[in-house]
Amino acid sequence: MMSGDPVLPKDDAPVEGEAAALLRVRGLTATFEGHGHRVPALRGIDFEVGRAESVGFVGESGSGKSVTARSVLGLEPEGSTIERTGSVLFNGRELLGLSDKQMQDIRGRQVGMVFQDPMTSLNPVLTIGDQIDDMLRRHRGWSRRAARSRTVELLDLVGIREPAQRANDHPHQFSGGMRQRVLIAVAVSCEPELLIADEPTTALDVTVQAQILRLLIRLREELGMSLMLITHDFGVIAGMVDRVYVMYRGEVVESGSVDAIMHSPREDYTKALIQAVPRIELPEGT
């Protein structure tokens, strides 16, 4: 965070106090190691996500925003190893240093995740019902029958018509937008306290994007989840979050309420990102 940043949460934005924070990250660094090189991806970042709060992370490719998400989840990038230092406190529990098995239990059960590419995130050979059943049976120890019943409810919750029938379909039988709905159903199946969505609408049509954003808002209200929304697009962030962290080269360069940042950005980088959002310009008087 920028030192001495006086930006205060506006209106009724949740208090940033440490007691209220569901997730509290301090001095997080991440360094990629591979082929004899060490590449810093995060250079010591601090942030909080409050209970039932919605927080955006904005930056371009290489800014470290996705590494931030994966660090909370304890996920390793493919093909290289990553070394992390600092502190990631979730519900008062330190996540850095937990074993893979302990992290697996936290992922899915307490922290749900939705990534950009809905095709590669689903197993193509299993029906989507089986994939959601599996989450419920593994994390909550439910019976096959109880899991399926909840799976159908979840598919209904995310707006899939004829959920009982569609549960028997495979991922390729769904459109891109419908697959993203399925992934969201998987992510919220165990009613996590935090949902991390990394570019959840980037590959989608604008009309479908609006549907998915509305779905995320509704689920957050119904399930009382906190949301970490990661994107390069301030247009997507604008209506979705309470607060924003702007990331550049592994650092948080600006943070504050979404209204303060978008109406009066301080950093040139933030201004450039907002300026670059393509917007429809209409001539005066129309």
Partner: protein, 342 residues
């Protein structure tokens, strides 16, 4: 940057009756049908599409996944079997012999969405850029080296990158290489299919600027396919809105965006995120608009524009001022033309 590269190879194919005013690309009654597969009947992916693209201009083609916009681009480039007529530089491409069509390919090129998969990972930049020059022999073998340097300069890349491989570049730089390859043989017409949708917003703006400046310098025409109407506004002169395989609205960008006639155009315009928290929160809080117009009932008797097509045999295409047109298909019940301004 020396300019004459654009003039060197531009010998317009001659055909009797071709007038100066004929657009670079003229598409009439284009249709593409995907054959029946098990459990599914044949699908008309593109149905009765008419488009004109005058020299040195850009036509934006917008619509959502499955609307047929990519299929339209591929059919125009004769990469898919299609019905109807596609005339490039006054010459009919449909039914052309393969050898003749290959000769026409240097006049029509394409830039695809994904700069990661559209470049051969084992070829260097110079290999990638030299390939079309060798295939189409637009420059003598001795001139290829100089032409590669010229192309790199054209798209804003340093000549030193010619020995590098695609993985050494960022997404935006790769898209510059793809654009340089498309322009290598000095085409008159380029299909750009979602050329920026995989890129960061700042890089998107740079690529759109590059395409615009290249058009001004080289006079090339674009069919710019995109789902993002805001990006299309930055580059296109005219825009065609596609829905369910048909063009539902077409006109000058300024006119269509300010006075959309078709309800689907309005839906697309309203879905573009606005980088303003208050506006965007209000939009997301509003009830979603029914985007599936396919189920809209076929108009009985008079259409929304007051014509009875069955009786008077008039076309379903309705023309307004300034060549702005819209179809009376896919209008939900109760929506009148004026309502779409709401």
């Amino acid at each position: 940057m020396s300019v004459p590269i654009s003039q060197q190879h531009r010998v317009p194919p001659v055909e009797a009756g071709q007038s100066d005013s004929e657009p670079v690309l003229m598409v009439r009654d284009l249709g593409v049908t995907f054959p029946a597969r098990r459990g599914h009947s044949a699908v008309a992916a593109v149905d009765v599409v008419d488009l004109d693209i005058p020299a040195g201009t850009t036509l934006g083609l917008v619509g959502e996944s499955g609307s047929g916009k990519t299929t339209t681009g591929r059919a125009i480039l004769q990469l898919l079997p299609s019905s109807g007529s596609v005339r490039l530089l006054g010459r009919e491409l449909g039914g052309m012999r393969p050898g003749e069509l290959r000769g026409m390919r240097r006049h029509m090129q394409f830039v695809l969405q994904n700069p990661y998969s559209s470049l051969h990972p084992r070829m260097t930049v110079e290999g990638i850029l030299a390939e079309p020059l060798r295939v189409h022999r637009t420059v003598p073998a001795s001139g290829i080296d100089a032409r590669v340097d010229e192309l790199l300069d054209l798209v804003g890349l340093d000549a030193e990158v010619r020995r590098r491989y695609p993985h050494e570049f960022s997404g935006g730089q790769r898209q510059r290489i793809v654009i340089a390859r498309a322009l290598a043989v000095d085409p008159d017409f380029v299909v750009c299919d979602e050329p920026v949708s995989a890129l960061d917003v700042r890089i998107q703006a740079q690529i759109v600027e590059l395409l615009t400046s290249l058009q001004q310098r080289l006079g090339v025409s674009y069919l710019f396919i995109a789902h993002d109407l805001a990006v299309v506004q930055q580059i296109a002169d005219r825009v065609a809105v596609m829905y369910a395989g048909r063009i539902v609205e077409l006109g000058d960008v300024a006119d269509v965006y300010a006075r959309p006639r078709h309800p689907y155009t309005r839906i697309l315009l309203d879905a573009v995120p606005v980088p303003d928290p208050d506006v965007q929160r209000a939009r997301l809080a509003a009830p979603p608009v029914q985007a599936d117009l396919r189920s809209a009932p076929e108009p009985e008797g008079e259409c929304v524009f007051g014509r009875n097509h069955r009786e008077d045999g008039s076309p379903e295409w309705h023309l307004f001022d300034g060549g702005h047109g819209a179809s009376c298909r896919y209008w939900p019940a109760g929506v009148r033309p004026d309502d779409t301004r709401a």
